[in-house]
């Protein structure tokens, strides 16, 4: 099987996000960078498929020079090779430009299944997997929590509001991974040593022949709206506090 796993480097979930004073983005100084957690599920699933059915896992990443660490992490987990699309012209890429770059790389690689995270936890767009599928003319299965490979198709489970769907799709296809799909492994020490020698191909936008002009632009980044200071409810007994809280929810907040 030829399996592709797309990965993105993002700030850790514990990161405090500080908006730049001029609203042009976020302060990156103190941030710890990690592989997008949803992409980890994709890499793990790719590795499990390879281990069971044989084949090859290629990691593809669009990102700045530092994103090479994330590619090495995936290689240390067990992926075979990497492609790093790195170009200052892509630093502010939107979902469409990112998907175009990924599609330009992947169209020239053999591919049976392409994994993406269901969304990246930085811009939270959740668009790249579906856009990539469209640009490659493949079916998409988004938000997948269970996957079974039959040889010529995949059967997946995807939860929707109040139900879950079981869907079968012919290969090749794009799958976006949701939490619950698996428990990603940690890279082993020998894995980390081996990863250093695995091949990573670095490409820029010109080599891929893609347009880098974004279609959706974040014109301004702003901090979240401030919440008014809250009230701590006083009282001697828990019951008293509960009564007062219920009264405030009814009379002041009017939410019950």
């Amino acid at each position: 099987m030829n399996i592709i796993a797309c990965v993105k480097q993002v700030p850790d979930t514990e990161a405090q996000i500080k908006v730049k004073a001029d609203g042009s983005g976020i302060e990156e100084g103190q941030i710890k960078w990690v592989m997008n957690p949803y992409d980890e599920y994709g890499v793990e699933e790719a590795l499990r498929l390879k281990e069971k059915n044989g084949g090859d896992v290629t990691v593809v990443c669009v990102g700045q020079a530092r994103a090479m660490e994330t590619i090495r992490t995936a290689l240390a987990m067990g992926a075979d090779k990497g492609v790093h699309v790195s170009d200052p012209a892509l630093d502010n890429a939107d979902a469409y430009v990112t998907a175009s770059a990924l599609a330009a790389v992947i169209k020239d690689l053999p591919h049976d299944i392409i994994f993406c995270g269901q969304r990246a936890i930085d811009d939270d767009s959740g668009q790249v997997g579906a856009m990539l599928a469209e640009l490659l003319g493949l079916p998409q299965l988004t938000l997948v929590t269970k996957l079974e490979y039959t040889g010529s198709s995949v059967k997946v489970i995807r939860p929707i509001e109040g139900a879950q769907l079981s869907i079968e799709t012919a290969l090749p296809c794009v799958v976006t991974a949701q939490k619950g799909l698996n428990e990603p492994r940690y890279a082993s020490l020998p894995g980390i040593m081996k990863a250093k020698k695995k091949p990573v191909d670095v490409k820029d936008a010109a080599a891929l022949g893609i347009a880098t002009e974004v279609k959706a632009k974040v014109a301004k980044t702003v901090p979240p709206p401030a919440r008014p200071p809250g009230k701590i409810i006083c009282g001697d007994e828990p019951e008293q506090k509960a009564d007062e809280l219920a009264r405030l929810l009814r009379e002041e907040a009017k939410v019950i």
């Binding site: 990161a15 959740g126 856009m131 939860p159 769907l165 869907i167 296809c173 974004v214 959706a216 828990p238």
Partner: protein, 323 residues
């Protein structure tokens, strides 16, 4: 010249989803500012009668596409028909719901039309035909104001944030010719959640529990409070990772991002990744015995006490008030 606002309505089994009415009302408001028309795309099998309800919420014209291949929802078939209707009618802006289906569809349609899309918006404004979309990023740790330079300008709206307001218009039906090619994907089974619980992203009230619940059985008192409030029980990552609750109950940056009217956090300290997922709730209540817990900084009402005493008492007090 692109003109008017188009919404992509969502229905399941012949009933409109609430987000469709939120989309209709929001589009009406945007269109009225420029004296424009609101149109809707409604796809499925035997769904024409739903057009009247869209009309009631401000839609002038409904493009109805009916075919057995459009029910239940399959991405590629819906994307093909949706993109075709958008292309033929050239609206200035297209609004989707940021529901599971809406997110799946909108990104595919945006790629088909080679345009930009702002996902999961919590505010949209239009000025001289130019759409500005405000959307949370980093799960709400900051917000981005997004502009779309291609046409049509596309956005998906977060469920439960925009009000659905009646504003009767014609809702006139235009039938669309649908030709759907053989699909590569097939829905084998729809397994419904029979608990009757509203999904967290659509709930008006959420009662969430964390490590302070001490185990899965602790959630019973939260279920009771949620039942009285007509809400749904959520959980922190700590509670889900401990196996106390299912993954679909998780609120936070690696779970669901929610905006209920009322969010009651019980025994949740308030790790930043949890706060990110619930801070757009209208009212936040925190119940925790640690007065230093970061959750109190986000709470409108805080109770510093033992949740195992406060929560049952609150359930009783709410029951009395609600009657």
């Amino acid at each position: 010249m692109a003109k008017g606002i188009m919404i992509v309505a969502e229905q399941r089994e012949g009933a409109l989803r609430k987000i469709s009415l939120e989309l209709a009302s929001t589009a009406r408001k945007l269109a009225d500012a420029g004296g424009d028309e609101v149109s809707a795309i409604l796809l499925g099998s035997g769904v024409e009668s739903l057009a009247a309800e869209l009309g009631k919420y401000g839609v002038d014209k409904v493009f109805v596409g009916e075919d057995a291949a459009l029910e239940p929802y399959v991405t590629e078939a819906h994307a093909e028909v949706t993109a075709k209707i958008i292309k033929e009618n050239d609206p200035a802006a297209v609004l989707f719901g940021a529901s599971v289906q809406g997110k799946d569809l909108s990104a595919r349609v945006a790629a088909k039309l080679a345009t930009g899309l702002a996902t999961d918006c919590t505010d949209v404004k239009i000025d001289g035909g130019k759409l500005t979309c405000t959307r949370p990023m980093y799960a709400g740790k900051c917000f981005g104001e997004v502009e779309i330079s291609a046409s049509p300008q596309m956005a998906s709206l977060r469920p439960n944030v925009f009000p659905a307001v009646e504003n009767a218009k014609a809702g006139a039906v235009t039938k669309v010719d649908v030709k759907v090619e053989a699909q590569k994907s097939k829905v084998l089974e729809v397994q419904k959640d029979t608990s009757g619980k509203v999904d967290l992203t659509e709930a008006n009230a959420i009662v969430s529990g964390g490590r302070g619940l001490k185990g899965p059985e602790g959630f019973a008192i939260l279920e009771e409070l949620a039942a009285v409030l007509g809400g749904t029980v959520g959980a922190s990552r700590a509670a889900v990772d401990a196996g106390w609750r299912e993954q679909k109950d998780q609120v936070g940056q690696t779970g669901k991002v929610v905006s209920p009217n009322l969010y009651v956090a019980c025994g949740i300290s308030g790790a930043i990744q949890h706060l990110a997922g619930m801070s757009s709730s209208k009212y936040i209540v925190a119940i925790n015995k640690d007065e230093e817990a970061p959750i109190f900084a986000k709470a409108d009402y805080g109770v510093v006490d033992d949740l195992f005493k406060v929560v049952p008492a609150l359930t009783g007090a709410c029951k009395k008030l609600i009657g």
